[in-house]
């Protein structure tokens, strides 16, 4: 499911509301190393994009449930990575947790950040992961895996800090 609504862009008003979610009600083994989260098996990358008609704030959030399959401690990041960088030069948010299958088998990651976007520029926010080792999986059900975006018009032109 993915939706986007473009509304009037008066200052301080909503420009767009976006939602995308998993569409495979099952666990999926994460490939080792680094990669992008996906919605159905290894396909359909989890990401949202936006090209604002005016300078705006873009609130992007990710909800993913990650489980550890083996009896060893490793860490896993879930990140939101923005491309290109926003007006602050910021490119994302990273959250880490250590897991072990007999200690803390399942744990969510809930990164969220507001980006400052420039009008006319096409941005994409990708949901990525990074694993230090071991075997991991995530759930691709709609209730476990989702990414949201809310764009709100800024007052005038946002200038780089």
């Amino acid at each position: 499911v993915s939706s986007q609504t473009t509304l009037a862009w008066r200052p301080g008003r909503l420009l767009a509301v976006q939602h995308i979610e998993g569409s495979n009600n099952a666990w999926y083994a994460l490939p080792a190393g680094n990669g992008q989260l996906t919605r159905v098996g290894a396909t359909t990358p989890l990401e949202i994009s936006y090209t604002p008609p005016v300078d705006c704030y873009w609130d992007v959030s990710l909800n993913v449930m990650i489980t550890k399959l083996d009896a060893a401690y490793h860490n896993a990041y879930a990140t939101i990575d923005l491309s290109p960088v926003d007006l602050h030069g910021d490119s994302g948010v990273w959250q880490i947790a250590i897991q072990h299958n007999s200690v803390d088998w399942a744990w969510p990651r809930l990164p969220r950040r507001t980006f400052w976007l420039s009008r006319g520029v096409s941005y994409v926010a990708r949901a990525n992961y990074s694993l230090s080792g071991g075997s991991w999986q995530m759930h691709q059900g709609a209730g476990y895996l989702m990414m949201d975006g809310v764009a709100t018009a800024a007052y005038g032109i946002l200038t780089p800090p």
Binding site: Y57, D90, V93, I98, P111
Partner: protein
């Protein structure tokens, strides 16, 4: 930290602010009831705001890595503290996790709160650390250490 223009139309976003760590970070030890810093010896992760009208103030903060350094279980809160209580007598928001260096040495905190501010009052929201013991450190770069706030006229 940056501020934007204000307006007084109910329901509109009237202000957005950000405070964050440095582009290149480093591990920094943190003691009980001390504010997180932008960098070693730097300013607190904090946002100050004096609304011109009554607003709802959404404040969020992230510590992407909070590491437990010793082999004992203790908990650590991430707190958002206001310098004065809001119009509903609320001035704190908290998020807790217990950690141990040989079990779950790395953890994150993400905390969000909605305060009800009164126009003309000076507010500061500070990201605070509070623990039950042990040694802790966090990483100061900006993808893992920031606070953001938005105000909506009410």
């Amino acid at each position: 930290m940056r501020a934007e223009l204000c307006a007084d139309t109910q329901g509109q976003l009237v202000n957005a602010l950000l405070d964050k760590g440095q582009t290149t970070g480093a591990y920094l030890a943190i003691a009980n009831q001390v504010a997180y810093k932008e960098q070693s010896g730097g300013a607190n992760i904090a946002i100050s705001y004096t609304p011109s009208v009554n607003v709802w103030w959404d404040v969020e903060a992230c510590i992407g890595i909070l590491q437990k350094l010793d082999a004992a279980y203790h908990y650590a809160y991430a707190n958002i503290w206001l310098n004065v209580n809001d119009a509903q007598a609320r001035g704190r928001a908290q998020c807790i996790w217990t950690q141990h260096s040989t079990v779950n040495n790395y953890g994150f905190r993400h905390i969000q709160a909605r305060f009800m501010l009164t126009g003309g009052t000076f507010y500061t929201a500070t990201l605070m650390h509070e623990n039950s013991g042990g040694s802790w450190q966090y990483y100061t770069d900006n993808p893992r250490n920031f606070m953001m706030a938005r105000a909506w006229a009410r």
